[in-house]
Every structure is written in structure tokens, then in C-alpha cells.
Symmetry: C2
Subunit: 170 residues, 2 copies
DNA sequence: ATTTAAAACTAACATTCGTTAGTTTTAAAT
DNA sequence: ATTTAAAACTAACGAATGTTAGTTTTAAAT
């Protein structure tokens, strides 16, 4: 709290005119971002896009948040474990629901023959964590455009690294 | 240190008969894993495998470590920032070299027409962070076999999520 | 049985941490 | 000019942290 206070030009004790506790800040950050993700899911899931389009829209949000709001993303991604009950359970419930709907989208894609028959859980977790590097990297290396990064990552995920004409299988 | 001591059935002070400091533990963990990665790179990079085979071998190690040694992986991945100089610089130099050689492999793959013309840095970071979820997830959900996970992830990265026959581009 | 070295213990240290109590300053409203 | 409420301050608290000093226990070697 002392570091945080000095960052905004205050004494640590003065912070408590504005916040209730250190924990409140953690709650604020975690649930603010969790709501952003949930809201997007509630918009995308029932829409009439194809499953692949839905995945793209959701991943785009993850890329957006991890690169543009990276300090917040870092807190939510790495520090949610320190939420206290009942907030922690509430947070985990939100995450569980988000992940469930996300796997549903993937499974629908598989069923419709648009997405390969991968394990939806593995695909989901791989997808979600693959954009995490942006949260640590983007602030230091601003020479790349977010949209370029987005397209590169999407391309990687959707059609893979192997060049189209190359026959790689053993 | 008190938690750690009680975990091994000791008083905190007794730990200091075995270690020099808390920091020493951090160094030990970080450099032990960093060496494992570096050694693998020194074995794989000069080998006569194709670039894609090299990438597969390296990613396999990341999956192995993140799933089987997940507490160590978590410390190295998340806590290396707390290394003190000169260890921190040394660690970062090792990482830089590792990442450089990894992008070289990718670039060779691109040059040889085996790998799509993605940005090698983006591909690298996406690849490396995409397997991080295993470090948090594997211990709790042991119903999946590491080798199954390995193959699923490889398939995703190499040939993408989009089903072969599906025409997805807008 | 005695010695000895490793490894446990107890007690305490100096810091750091989040927070509270009480007081003073700031600045807008009367 | 006076009042008032917001927001800063100083001082200090109790708890937790990594660590050290000094002592006792453990167990193998003599």
C-alpha cells in the first residue's frame, strides 16, 4: 500500500479515504474484468455467427485486454487466488460458466464440421493461455500493432503453422 | 519460510542448516529449469531434424515440465522477477539466447517453406505461453494423459483448428 | 562410553505490512 | 467570512516475515 500510495503522490494512510481495504482493490479489478469477459460471452454466444467467428470474437477480446490493460489483466490472471470467500467462489463460478460456454462453442464447431475434432478442454485452455504473453510483453515492445498481432495469432490458431503445400506428417 | 518448514516437519530456523537463504531456493529452482531448457536447445538446435521436428521436440519439453514439475515451473515462470542481480541478468541472458535460437528455428522453417510466413516473435511467444495452463491445471485434473495432451496441442499448432475440408475465410 | 558433527530446537531480532486513530489542510457552499 | 465535508497528514498498532544466536538433541565414529 505504501508503494501504491507513493505512486499516486500520497501517504499510505490517505488511501483509506478512497478505498475500504487492499482487498477491495483486488475484488474491483478481478470482477471488473470478469464482467467484461462475461458480457462479451453473453453477446457472442447466442449470436448467429459461426462457431469459428465466435471463437475469433472472444479471442480478440482476450488479446485486446491482455495488451491494452495489461496491469489489470496481470492482477486478474495471477492474483485471483488471493480473493477471499465468498468472492473467490463467485469468481470461480463466473469463470466456470465462461469456460463452459466457450467449450460449447468449440463443440458446436466440431459438430458442424468447421472445427477439427480436438479435445475441447485442451483447445480452450491452450487458446486462452496462448495470449497471456501479451500482458507481460506488449508494454515493453510497442513496435507491433495490436491488430497485426491479432491477425497473426488468429491465423496460427485457425490454420496452423505448417505451410499449406508442405507435407510434414511422418 | 515458516509454511515451508512446517511442510517438511521442521521449525523455520532449522531450514538454515540446509540452505543459505530463501533467495538461494529461488535461484536453485530458476537455474535448474533454465539449464534444462538450455541443454535441450543445445541438443536440438544443431541436430539434423527439420525445423518443424525441432519445434515439436522443444514444445514437448515445455509440456513435460509444465505438467510434471508444475510447482517448479510456476516458480520459474512467475517468480524469476524477484531474482537479485547479478542472477537476474544472467537468467535473462539465458532466456534471451533460448528465445533467439527458437526464433532462428522458426525462421529457418519459414525459409525452407515448411512453416507459414508468420512473425517469428509472435509465433514463439504464442507457442511458449500456450502450454502454461498445464502448470496450473494438470495437478487437479489428472484424467488426461500427458501424451494425449501433447498430441492434441501439437496438432492444434501445426495444422490449426479449422477442419480440413471447411472453407472458413470470409 | 565418549567424542563429534549434523541438524533439530527456542528465543528473539529488525523490517515490513495493512490498517486505524486522531489531527490538520484544502476547497467548495453558505 | 464562516461553515463544512472531503481528503490529506502524522503516529503508531499488531501481525507477519526472513533471519541469527545460542542451545539441545540425534546418531554415527572412535
Amino acid at each position: 500500500m505504501r508503494d501504491l500510495a507513493s505512486e499516486v503522490g500520497m501517504e499510505a494512510a490517505s488511501l483509506y479515504n478512497h478505498i475500504k481495504s487492499k482487498e477491495e482493490i483486488l475484488n474491483e479489478i478481478c470482477f471488473s474484468l470478469a464482467n467484461t469477459y462475461s458480457d462479451k460471452m453473453d453477446e457472442v454466444y447466442p449470436s448467429d455467427n459461426t462457431p469459428i467467428e465466435k471463437v475469433k470474437k472472444l479471442i480478440a477480446l482476450h488479446i485486446q485486454i491482455n495488451s491494452m490493460s495489461s496491469p489489470l489483466a496481470t492482477v486478474m490472471n495471477d492474483e485471483w487466488r488471493h480473493l477471499t470467500e465468498p468472492c473467490k467462489s463467485q469468481f470461480l463460478d463466473m469463470r466456470k460458466r465462461y469456460e463452459y460456454l466457450f467449450t460449447e462453442i468449440i463443440q458446436q464447431g466440431v459438430k458442424r464440421g468447421e472445427i477439427k475434432a480436438v479435445d475441447p478442454r485442451i483447445a480452450l485452455y491452450t487458446l486462452l493461455s496462448s495470449v497471456r504473453w501479451l500482458q507481460h510483453w506488449y508494454h515493453a515492445n510497442r513496435d507491433l500493432d495490436v491488430n497485426d498481432i491479432k491477425e497473426n495469432i488468429m491465423e496460427m490458431f485457425l490454420t496452423g503453422l505448417v505451410a499449406d503445400q508442405y507435407e510434414w506428417k511422418p
